[in-house]
Symmetry: C2
Subunit: 218 residues, 2 copies
DNA sequence: ATAATTTTTTAGCTTTGTCTAAATTTTTAT
DNA sequence: ATAAAAATTTAGACAAAGCTAAAAAATTAT
């Protein structure tokens, strides 16, 4: 599979997670930063290779083969991210672009040895699950912080947005994966939250709270 | 720089180490496994980018800029090889192809952090020198085992041929980097050597001895 | 020194992945 | 239900990197 085919497959995978229907041409084009016409061409090629099912004007979906291939790319991406953060001391907002390149290295042996070297992690530095060598994914029950009730406490387990600016904001507020967060108050006007983290109270906007995953604790 | 440009540059670098003159089109074609006509095309592109100096029919040489770029690719290749062997437990005959892919990952930060993680190694698993971030190379005085005199003892410090079959032969004979080798006898008919390694005496052909580098010890 | 051979370059074609512009289909809105 | 808008596909073109075959230059051998 080419570099480009892999990127399309990964894009279709990510899009199909949040949609039940076929994934649209335009949505793919936006993700891979190309044009709809280019997407149509590539989709046809992937369909010939039986990686996706495609019907003109109806969007695409992954076949079993395509799904597994996509998961393996995601697996590689996320394992490399763990490597960069845990072993090479990258910050969590610096790893994405490099992992984007590393995910295309073709060696099963490499990725399985890397997996072992890292201790078979199940999540990447942003809290996203890492498929194992068979494509199995451990699902963690988690919810957006914006959905928490006043008085509830959660442990931060992931971010929805992995942009540098968001991650750096979290660093500044000393919010990291594993941080304990208690909801103190919710402002009904703008849905901003007063939360307690690391013994300090801070106010975060609804936009922030809508991009932070946490799991409920007592 | 593209993947392909990097491969050509690396090939020219390797060839220019063993030749004083300009590197020939055919030699490059053999190394990058393409055709002479393709090489001519690529050379023109590299010349436009001022990475090589090219005169029709006269071969090519690297500019300072091209030399540094080539060294950085070699640096990446060899650091990744160290990583694969030291951290991921690859055998020394398994690393070349994977490193061939990894060397094209574009991130200075990555390679410098990897360098630090590995403890700033100066040699790869085959005994070849690793350029530092400024392109400096530590030269080790070494000579081919075939040039040793009877009675001399050497420490194995490198291989000239890194093919899997040669490296696996060495494994089988328990010859590794660091092995102490004493020349017991030399057969004048075929220049084969009787050597002592790990307290055992074995006979190696001239071809083997001509692909093993060692440095003299008392 | 010239002919034969080898090496290198040029010319023209192919494939991959992209694009723009035009045509077509689907969806949305009245 | 039909017109307008949006989404998608097709057609045709382009750049990168490769190839084959033919032409040109350099080397070698007589």
């Amino acid at each position: 599979m080419t570099y480009s085919e892999e990127n399309y497959l990964k894009a279709i995978y990510h899009l199909s997670l949040s949609q039940k229907q076929g994934v649209s041409t335009n949505a793919i084009a936006a993700l891979v930063e190309s044009k709809a016409s280019s997407v149509t061409d590539m989709i046809k090629k992937l369909a010939e290779k039986e990686l996706v099912i495609y019907q003109k004007y109806q969007g695409v979906g992954l076949t079993d083969k395509g799904l597994m291939a996509a998961k393996m790319i995601v697996r590689k991406h996320r394992l490399w991210e763990v490597f960069l953060v845990e072993k090479l001391d990258f910050a969590w907002d610096e790893v994405h672009d490099v992992a984007e390149e590393l995910e295309h290295i073709k060696s099963e042996k490499l990725i399985n040895k890397l997996d072992a070297f890292l201790g078979f992690p199940t999540e990447d530095p942003h809290g996203d699950p890492i498929p194992d060598k068979n494509g199995n994914i451990v699902k963690v029950e988690k919810q957006l912080l914006s959905e928490f009730e006043i008085g509830q406490t959660g442990i931060c387990v992931g971010v929805k947005d992995s942009s540098s600016s968001f991650l750096q904001y979290l660093d500044k507020q000393q919010i990291a994966l594993g941080s304990k967060i208690k909801i103190i108050a919710k402002e009904s006007f703008d849905m901003s939250l007063t939360i307690e983290v690391e013994k300090k109270q801070i106010i975060i906007s609804n936009k922030i709270a809508s991009n932070l995953f946490a799991k409920i604790v007592l």
